[in-house]
């Protein structure tokens, strides 16, 4: 996992917890140097009442992020891709 680089996460579905009991699930489209993220096809889930809704393209300032999670299978897939890439380069 420590071989992964930020560009590897582009296109992955991230689950971002915000401080206010909300989780945003969306595809990572872009990020800047401060790690402000841009997610597309975002689904907002409110943890208090379970309400879900779609928001479209959402920018998530780093300061609002409590945690970033990734589906285990996706993470493993990304690691494999990175290892393969490294092997080819070497």
């Amino acid at each position: 996992m420590d071989k992964l680089r930020l560009p590897d996460f582009i296109g992955s579905t991230l689950h971002i917890s915000l401080g206010d009991k909300r989780v945003l699930t969306g595809t990572l489209m872009a990020m800047d140097c401060q790690l402000n993220l841009l997610l597309d096809h975002v689904r907002e889930t409110r943890l208090d009442d379970g309400n879900q809704r779609l928001l479209g393209l959402v920018s998530v300032p780093r300061a609002t992020i409590s945690s970033i999670k990734l589906d285990r299978d996706t993470l493993e897939h990304l690691c494999r891709l990175r290892q393969e890439f490294m092997r080819q380069v070497v």
Binding site: D32, K69, D71
Partner: protein
């Protein structure tokens, strides 16, 4: 479509998925630390993004935790938060009646805010908690569901009213989906993922239930129910509007009823009731799928007259059903939306009502009939019909029909799209012109008769019509730019000169057609003389039969053609004269140095030639009429400039010319107006404006006002500038394009105003 469904289902399924969410979250790996570690050493200019992602799109994103962009942060009052649709608001029967009346009243007025004032659904109709609740529950069950408060006013009357309103909204959605008007630009239908009764096919069901509620309210025999009754009747009328599209009904009874109800309600301001607190809120923006920033609710004004506007505009559209000829239909299309932009529902309805699903025009004519009528109403019946019937013409006529349908559709567009539509059409007309000309030439060359031969060569009636339509589109495109305030004063010369040039080209074409028609009429008359001179009895009988046939079948339409062409010539002469007046006034102002046809803007990145070419770009690939070069514009202006010696007398001459052109235009306007008033059967001209008499008269009134204003401007210009040049004048004055009251926006005035800066403004 699937995405829309997903949007719709999300809010329904969300609350039951707690377990699922927890389960999913447990399969996740926390990468926060890794992520932030990797980001530590990024250089300041770093942007990592998906290769297919356009950064510009990012500017439309919603930012979380930004109160202006994050709808989750919308703060609701405790009343709004706790509002329940399961309880009937109001402690007494009267209070409940007042509340239900208040809700329906707000919803009706919100419809006007939405449609007439370009507001959104979530800030108007969908801000009602009951609407959200009923649409949600009903779409789950795919049938109309009702409230269960135990109060019939809520459980029946309010629900029936809401379903009526939503059914009307469904009709508007259908109009929008037809693609005639544009989402956001003309109308906003952000349905927040809610299904607007797609499962209700039966209009009768909605109407029956509305009538049931009207009967129930009547049975209450309370004086306070009157307002609500009229509201429900108004909603019935709205539900019935669908018939104009569903069965192409031209019956205006329901529209008249709508006007009557709206006028009644407009006068009942004193009956205004407040809805229950918390019933209308921004809550839906917070709860449902939403790709837009939070927007405050609209405060509905007392706007029932908005329904009158809508109904009257729809009635104007339905008048097309009474068109006795394609000319009348085309004139209705030309004028109904020309001076003031019609209601969005009327504009969306027009092309759909005019060209039916089966591509039949008004349900009466096939596309071929339609184009055939257009051609024969424009030019000689006999020649055109021979050409039209040739098999070689079929694909060309098919193309002509497609462009004509586009022309009709464009007429209903909003004012900006209208010009853009013409821009798109120019190339289509030009390509058709080339195609038609080559086809018609081929047919005419094969023809043995001398029917199509004129003094100037082969007469091609269909190509003449296409050319006329093309040049009309070009003129309309140029002059509409003034209406939309696209041009700067320094560009006025080029655009008016070009419009003058196009009018001249159009006039030449029309004169040629007019000449052919006249010669055909004369040839029939001369047949009468031949009969008199003929001695041979058999030949005399044959000639008589031929004469009778021509008189019975062709003469009337030829005379109509001639009178219609006279109208077109007269109309064209108005445009030509007014354009020339503007050009001449520009030349006077330039001669005195108060305006120039060159931009004063920086020339580092552009120059005048480029600017002109850019302005005329839509015409750059038009074959005929040829586009004027930059040099041609420059030379035309130079020729018109007033220079030493004898400036005063040259100025006088130019002013006289303007007065003469104004006088010509005024005479033509007066003649056309008289003929519009007299009707096509009684005048010198056939204008085809029977169905849009009022709008056509207003249009020519505006041109009249413009001509008068130009004449007056002559006096103002000479009074301000004097009759001899002085170097200080250019610093004293500046020129702006202004539109006098009630004048045509197509011919703004070159108004001299005192310069605020001591600097020449171009």
């Amino acid at each position: 479509m699937d995405l829309e469904k997903e949007f719709g289902n999300l809010h329904l399924s969300g609350s039951t998925k707690d377990g699922l969410i927890d389960e999913k979250l447990s399969d996740l790996v926390d990468i926060t630390e890794l992520f932030f570690d990797l980001g530590k050493d990024l250089s300041p200019q770093t942007i990592i993004q998906d290769p297919g992602f356009n950064s510009f799109e990012g500017t439309h994103s919603l930012e979380v935790n930004n109160p202006k962009l994050d709808s989750s942060l919308i703060s609701l009052t405790s009343e709004e938060e706790r509002f329940s649709c399961d309880v009937a608001c109001g402690a007494t029967d009267v209070e409940r009646l007042m509340y239900v009346t208040g809700i329906v009243d707000w919803l009706a007025r919100f419809l006007v805010c939405w449609l007439n004032e370009y507001q959104t659904l979530p800030t108007t109709v969908l801000s009602c908690r009951y609407v959200e609740f009923l649409l949600t529950v009903s779409s789950e069950r795919e049938e109309l569901s009702y409230l269960r408060t135990g109060d019939r006013l809520y459980d029946q009357v309010l629900c029936d009213a809401i379903y009526g309103i939503c059914y009307f909204a469904k009709f508007v959605q259908k109009l929008l989906k037809a693609g005639v008007v544009f989402e956001e630009e003309d109308l906003n239908f952000n349905h927040m993922g809610l299904d607007f009764l797609s499962y209700v096919e039966d209009q009768e069901l909605i109407l029956t239930r509305l009538h049931r509620s009207i009967d129930y309210i009547e049975s209450l025999q309370s004086p306070e129910t009157g307002f609500l009754q009229h509201l429900l009747k108004l909603i019935c009328c709205l539900v019935s509007l669908e018939n104009h599209l569903k069965v192409y009904s031209a019956d205006t009874t329901e529209l008249d009823n709508l006007i009557e109800e709206a006028i009644y309600l407009e006068q009942q301001r004193s009956s205004e009731c407040d809805p229950p607190p918390g019933c209308f809120s921004m809550g839906i923006q917070k709860r449902l799928s939403n790709q837009f920033p939070p927007k405050h609710l609209v405060v509905p004004t007392w706007n029932y007259k908005g329904f009158v506007i809508m109904a009257q505009d729809i009635k104007a559209v339905l008048m097309v059903d009474k068109a006795a000829s394609m000319l009348e239909a085309a004139q209705l299309a030309s004028f109904f939306n020309k001076l003031t932009q019609r209601h969005v529902v009327a504009r969306a309805l027009f092309p759909l009502f005019f060209i039916r699903d089966d591509e039949r025009v008004l349900g009466r004519y096939s596309g071929f009939d339609c184009i055939n009528l257009h051609l024969t109403e424009f030019c000689a019946t006999t020649t055109a019909s021979t050409t039209i019937l040739s098999p070689e013409m079929t694909p060309v006529l098919q193309e002509a029909m497609n462009i004509m349908f586009e022309w009709y559709q464009n007429m209903a567009q909003n004012t900006s799209r209208y010009r853009q539509g013409y821009n798109r059409q120019l190339l289509l007309w030009d390509a058709l012109h080339a195609q038609m000309e080559s086809c018609e030439y081929e047919i005419a060359s094969q023809a043995t008769g001398e029917e199509s031969i004129t003094k100037t060569g082969i007469f091609m009636p269909c190509s003449s019509w296409v050319f006329f339509m093309k040049v009309t589109a070009m003129i309309e495109y140029v002059l509409k730019g003034f209406d939309l305030e696209v041009y700067k004063p320094f560009e006025a010369f080029a655009m008016f000169w070009y419009s003058y040039y196009l009018s001249y080209q159009q006039e030449s074409c029309l004169e040629k057609v007019h000449e052919v028609i006249e010669s055909k009429i004369n040839s029939i008359h001369s047949l009468g003389k031949k009969i008199k001179k003929q001695k041979n009895a058999q030949k005399k009988t044959e000639l008589k039969a031929q004469y009778r046939h021509l008189m019975d079948n062709n003469m009337e339409s030829l005379r109509t053609n001639k009178r219609y062409l006279s109208y077109l010539l007269m109309h064209g002469s108005i445009i030509k004269s007014l354009s020339l007046c503007e050009v001449l006034q520009f030349s006077i102002l330039k001669s005195f140095g108060v305006i120039d046809n060159k931009t004063s803007a920086s020339k580092i990145f552009s120059n005048d030639r480029l600017l002109l070419e850019l302005r005329l770009k839509p015409f750059s690939s038009i074959g005929v009429p040829e586009l004027l070069t930059y040099e041609a514009f420059e030379s035309a202006l130079n020729d018109l400039l007033i220079t030493e010696p004898m400036i005063s007398s040259k100025l006088e001459k130019t002013l006289d010319r303007i007065s003469k052109e104004v006088s010509n235009a005024l005479t033509a306007i007066d003649t056309i107006k008289k003929c519009i008033n007299a009707g096509d059967n009684n005048g010198l001209l056939v204008t085809g404006t029977r169905l849009v008499k009022e709008q056509a008269l207003k249009y020519y009134d505006q041109l009249h006002a413009s001509a008068k204003a130009i004449e007056l401007n002559n006096a103002v210009i000479t009074a301000k500038l004097g009759r001899s040049k002085s170097s200080s004048i250019s610093d004293k004055f500046t020129v702006r394009l202004s539109i006098p009251n009630d004048a045509s926006r197509f011919f703004p005035l070159l108004e001299l105003t005192n310069s605020t800066k001591n600097k020449r403004v171009r």
